[in-house]
């Protein structure tokens, strides 16, 4: 008979001997924690229960237990306050309701974040809007949170700014840490990771930091691309990664580009990142943007007319953060003027978002982004060299100018130092063809485009 059954038989016996109210008050949340030789240790929720059981029911409980197990000769009560957990979930909901009015009231940052896991409880799967652009990432994240460490390890999510990477990886963390298995989750931004390692090296206590990472079940690192070029950090991370990976601990990473596009990332790390699941989140489509707007509105408990929402969704395309910004400026208008903005006012208010100089692709922007993406200097692209590392970016720049800006071939040729327009046609066709065949190139093109349009 195990402890649980033993205690059940005690409870059954006690029920017969005392009144219902007494039983409910004194025996709620009690249980046997352990059996030691001749003694049973019983946990009670508070000091009153302890005194009461100890003084009033000691003999009766002991006798009942003794009847089941003759070796028991004594009881000990310990106070173990719990049962707070259930309450919490209920109250959180209440909280969000009472928050309606003072959405704008700022909180101390320290309270938003869970101290142990560093996770922000706001990011959960329930408020993540799924669309065609992120459904794969969503499905993978969900799979990881349900089967920790075994499905996709590591899980590598990448995509442009403001598309929900952080939301998704934090949601995984929140789900796992709230789960019944009490897994230890640690969310850390790569900047924090680097600064921890640096201070560890300086104070000669890097072991402490390492030890703190070795005991966790799920490690989540955001914006891993910032590790690029930091060799010592990469080395430390490599060891941490290996030791966790060997123990089947889940590792979740996010970045703004795929591992093979992160410059100055050590080969052994890159190959490890690629060993699990790599998923991208791309730009949301119109319908998803509309859905996101509606979710956000619901969170802020406000209603806007349909045509206004459609206007925002069709005009603010860059990323989700931008959408939220647009929405916020409407909310502020609503708050200060007291009436719901109509389509006209919306157009006026969102002028900055819609016609921002940053989200229009231009010749300069494309060249700049391409050069930056391939780690070249801008002027190198215009060099009449045939070096491979320059030729490809140049061709891609030409391709994008044609595709995105609809430049004529001769115009592009002129821009690139008076080349013949047939050269441009050749470059365009070459990239177009390769784009269909080579996934890696498609990927790169998407990323470049994303950056061109997201400033």
């Amino acid at each position: 008979m195990d402890n649980h059954e033993l205690w059940q038989s005690v409870l059954a016996q006690m029920q017969l001997n005392i009144s219902k109210a007494n039983f409910a008050t004194w025996f709620q949340n009690t249980q046997i924690i352990s059996k030691e030789e001749e003694k049973v240790i019983i946990s009670v929720p508070n000091a009153f229960s302890k005194e009461w059981l100890n003084n009033k029911y000691y003999k009766l409980i002991l006798k009942t237990i003794f009847d089941q197990d003759n070796s028991i000769k004594g009881l000990e009560f310990v106070i173990n306050p719990r049962s707070l957990e259930k309450k919490e979930i209920k109250e959180v909901k209440e909280n969000t309701e009472s928050n309606k009015i003072d959405v704008e009231q700022l909180k101390f940052d320290e309270f938003k974040v869970n101290k142990e896991t560093n996770l922000n409880p706001r990011y959960v799967f329930e408020n993540f809007v799924v669309g065609s652009f992120n459904e794969l990432a969503y499905a993978a994240a969900l799979a990881v949170s349900e089967n920790v460490g075994n499905t996709y390890n590591p899980l590598f999510i990448y995509g442009g700014v403001g598309l929900g990477k952080t939301h998704l990886i934090q949601a995984i963390g929140n789900k796992i840490s709230d789960g019944p298995k009490k897994k230890k989750v640690k969310y850390i931004s790569s900047e924090k990771f680097v600064s921890n390692i640096i201070s560890g090296i300086r104070n000669h206590n890097i072991d402490v930091f390492k030890a703190s990472l070795s005991s966790i079940d799920v490690l989540i690192i955001d914006d891993i691309q910032f590790l690029a070029g930091k060799n010592k950090t990469q080395e430390e991370f490599f060891h941490t990664f290996n030791s966790l990976y060997e123990k089947n601990k889940q590792i979740i990473l996010s970045s703004d580009k795929p591992p093979n596009a992160i410059a100055e990332l050590e080969e052994r790390l890159r190959s490890r990142f690629e060993g699990g699941m790599i998923i991208d989140i791309s730009l949301p489509d119109y319908e998803t943007r509309l859905a996101i707007l509606k979710t956000k509105l619901q969170e802020k408990s406000l209603a806007l007319p349909e045509d206004v929402l459609e206007y925002i969704a069709s005009n603010v395309k860059k990323n989700i953060r931008e959408l939220e910004g647009a929405l916020n400026s409407l909310l502020i208008y609503y708050k200060t003027n007291g009436n719901i903005p109509n389509l006209e006012t919306t157009k006026k208010l969102l002028k900055n978002f819609v016609f921002s100089p940053f989200n229009v692709a231009s010749f300069k922007k494309i060249v700049e982004t391409v050069a930056k993406f391939y780690n070249l200097e801008e002027k190198n692209i215009f060099n009449p060299t045939r070096r491979k590392e320059v030729v490809k970016p140049r061709q891609i720049a030409m391709f994008l100018l044609r595709e995105e800006l609809k430049y004529s071939f001769p115009a592009i040729a002129r821009k690139f130092g008076g080349k013949d327009h047939t050269t441009v046609i050749y470059a365009y066709k070459k990239i177009q063809k390769e784009n269909e065949q080579n996934n890696k190139l498609t990927e790169e093109l998407n990323l470049i485009k994303q950056r061109v349009y997201s400033g």
Binding site: A21, E51, N337
Partner: protein, 378 residues
Amino acid sequence: MKIEVLKENLKTNLNITERIVGKNLSLPILNNVLITTDNNFLSLVSTDLEIAIKLWILVKIIKNGNIVVPAKFLSAFISSLPNEKITMEVKDQNLYIECKNIKTQIQGYSSEDFPIIPEFKNAEYIELDSKKLCMGLAQIIDIASTSQSRPEISGVYFSFSKNAIKMVATDSFRLGEKNIHLEEPLKNIKEKDYSFILPQKSAREVMNILENKEGLMRIYFSSNQVLFELPMKEAAHPQVQITSRLIEGEYPNYQDIIPTKFKTHVVLKKDEFLNQIKTASLFSGKVNEVKISINKEKQEIEVFAKSGDVGENRSSLPVKVEGDSIDVSFNYKYLIDGLLNIKSSEIIFDISKEEGPCILKPVGDSSYIYVVMPIKSM
């Protein structure tokens, strides 16, 4: 049991014990007060299983014994009696009360069913001035969070070190910290510091009950409970004991919240500022927003509030400004709460940055600090 007691004496003490007695449906015995003779004293005990209050009154004891009677009822009845000597006697679980020419019988219950108040055997304790503690507590107690979603901030955090006692409360929008400096170091405290989180309700009871009583209060520590005790003036015996459960959990690292670098530093007159905020609050609308604009060039602070339904209000007062001009918006309630808890006539108002924590504190008194978060600026 048979005793003789003065009406006034009994009445004041019953008033205290009945404070925590509410309607408890699941365990009706908690609606009662336990009356017991204890050497030369009469003890009164009430509890709601979170807090327990135990009081002793000097009485003339003729026969020992005990009884449990409804607390509110007894208190109401005793109040109605003339101010004379009362004789109380227990016979067959009934309480017979005689006062002058009034004779009463109140039905009681067996003391067997009354909860047993946890005892503190050989617990470590410290001694300090009860007035100081209560006054300090009054400055922060209302700040504690009333929501149970984060149990650890629904109480008041106490931290005892050799020369100082810190009391902290926060509801995640604002935070108050009171430091009580002790002229004489705490004697019984060992190397390790004590700290605990006391539920707000218990803290309030401790404050209200001990507020007007002078003397050296003792605080006994145990892992899940704490006991506040005040001795009698007349005899070396406790007069009041308040036992409370503690809140489990770790108090947030609140020190990190208190900013140390500031963009703007303002010194101003409290009462004028408070009045202007109160006036502005009438115009603040649903979000309780008042905007504070600090102007470095003019050396003045402007309080502004506007509501679509009512109108707008603007007032200013000359202040001393160091640092940059800045605009910050606040929930006026949080500002007023902070200002009311500051006792000095001049206050320091420090702003760390837009949308960052701000500090209110008295001039010339480093023992109190109030940190408040602004409303997102428009």
